[in-house]
Symmetry: C2
Subunit: 320 residues, 2 copies
């Protein structure tokens, strides 16, 4: 599994952009500014990331801010200010915009950040681009590059549910609220991230699994020049996700690894910190593997001791 194979066009472009701009602040989930601020930006594009009416305007508003908050959670920051850029086609009504903003404001209130400005433009498709400014946590920042051999690989929540929610939407099926909620109203793991940085004494590697669990594991491995062994049986998959996968004739583990949009945290911390952290009454992280010294090789240990390396071939790649 060479690095070549696992490089998407997006990753190549980001590497180029670093070169063109001469900037070292680019590349993690957020940029870290000299003044102890974090800045991140994420864009949702109609027909690439969502379709109308597949998603309701309130859900679209919630999700467009939540995906940015999740990038802040990936670095354990404290969200402060959001700037909301909307590009809207003429057929979007004032009432639609009110509902869209309703969702944004609900999410902003839940996670205590302020909407301080933005821009409205006309265009042929809906584009929602939000920039979020956050303070760094007083205990430190979690970087993708901070993983060390011997660390424990941990995660929040469960995986594959968002892919299941997407399938349900396309199939026009209801009755699996966990999956639909994970897809339409993701809950960024901010409190969990603060717990992580506090309990890791400021040295944790983390990333949000917005492009799938496999992508998060590979990115952390590559940035930290380490490998991982991950126990398939330990990867949390919700019962509803299993049920929907059965309905869809899909593999729930494939959804978990490659589906994306779960907005859970994937992190590594020192083994002795994990021993302490897992005993905390409010701990929500689960151990799924360990960090090895095999540079960029993510081994999945399946049932019966079978082991195979993870590939990113199946990852969501709008750029391929």
């Amino acid at each position: 599994m060479s690095d070549q194979q696992n490089t998407t066009r997006e990753q190549r472009l980001i590497a180029n952009i670093k070169k063109w701009t001469g900037e070292r602040l680019i590349g993690d989930d957020c940029a870290v500014l000299p003044s102890q601020m974090l800045v991140t930006a994420d864009t949702l594009v109609e027909n690439s990331h969502f379709i109308i009416p597949g998603i309701s305007f309130p859900d679209l508003g919630w999700k467009s801010l939540a995906v940015n908050l999740s990038d802040i959670a990936a670095m354990c920051g404290r969200p402060r200010f959001a700037v909301v850029n909307l590009t809207l086609p003429p057929q979007v009504t004032d009432r639609d915009i009110e509902m869209l903003y309703g969702g944004i404001v609900d999410c902003a209130r839940a996670y205590r950040c302020r909407i301080v400005g933005g821009d409205l433009t006309a265009g042929s498709i809906i584009v929602i681009s939000i920039t979020l400014i956050a303070d760094t946590h007083e205990n430190g920042i979690s970087l993708r590059s901070a993983a060390k051999t011997g660390d424990v690989v941990i995660c929040t929540g469960d995986f594959g549910a968002s892919a299941a929610g997407l399938w349900l939407m396309k199939a026009k099926l209801a009755g699996f609220p966990h999956c639909s909620n994970k897809h339409f109203r993701p809950l960024p793991r901010l409190c969990e991230s603060w717990s992580l940085i506090r309990n890791s004494d400021g040295r944790a590697a983390a990333m949000d699994a917005s492009d799938g669990l496999a992508d998060a594991l590979v990115q952390i491995g590559r940035s930290s020049a380490v490998g991982m062994e991950v126990d398939e049986a330990a990867i949390p998959i919700h019962q509803q996700t299993q049920d929907v996968a059965r309905l869809a004739g899909a593999d729930a583990m494939d959804w978990a690894l490659y589906g994306g949009e779960d907005y859970e945290l994937v992190a590594t911390i020192a083994a002795e910190r994990w021993l302490r952290m897992q005993q905390l009454p409010n701990n929500t992280f689960k151990k799924i593997g360990t960090v090895t010294d095999k540079h960029s090789t993510i081994l999945l240990k399946g049932a019966g001791g079978r082991s195979y390396p993870l590939t990113l071939d199946k990852t969501f790649q709008p750029w391929s």
Copy 2:
């Protein structure tokens, strides 16, 4: 001329967004954050703000950052960090993206701000959304609401040239570099804005004329609850703009008032400050009128003493 008539859909939506979010930081060219920071965001959308190949990728890159820098200039801030969100269709090549970034980087270097991050997404049209973070100037902030009766109305540069440049592009004509440059490579008036805030002792009303001179005058008048008398003959219009208007069978004054995209500063300062400022050897502002106590009434004084109120009917309104 009632306020009703002069309220665009965009202005109504912004008023609503303030209500929905309960935020007072929204509404001027930038949001002013509690920590003496300014944040602004502007989006350029293919087929709304530009067409390919009407604009080259390097020019598009330059312009997309320049329009944001112009919003910072409107509040006399010092640009620091830019976050660049690109939505790109599959037919945009790596080489196109390199040229686009080349233009962004050229502009960032010229105006000394750093590109610290961003996001790449796929979509059916090109959308460039840049968020800019700036420090406030040590002498203060210019607000749209700071104009007072008796102030002098001043501006930088000249007006209508960008509209002329747009016409030239559509007509596939060359030979008027002032107009083409103003349209494709606007120069945000940052140094000028710092001179303004220094020489006004920190009390100036300002706005960039991105939606036209008429819009800027009306917005400052409305925000400050004042009126203005503007001398038509004093409005600077470049000779090339006059020439292109003649070719186009258009009215150069219409382009100046309503064409938009000139990215010049329109400001008001106390009359006694202006007396001092206009004598400075490097002063680049010109006086075009005075502030009156007639709330929201902008009177244009034409040739022969004829006076007429300004209306926004002809203003660029993607939202109407």
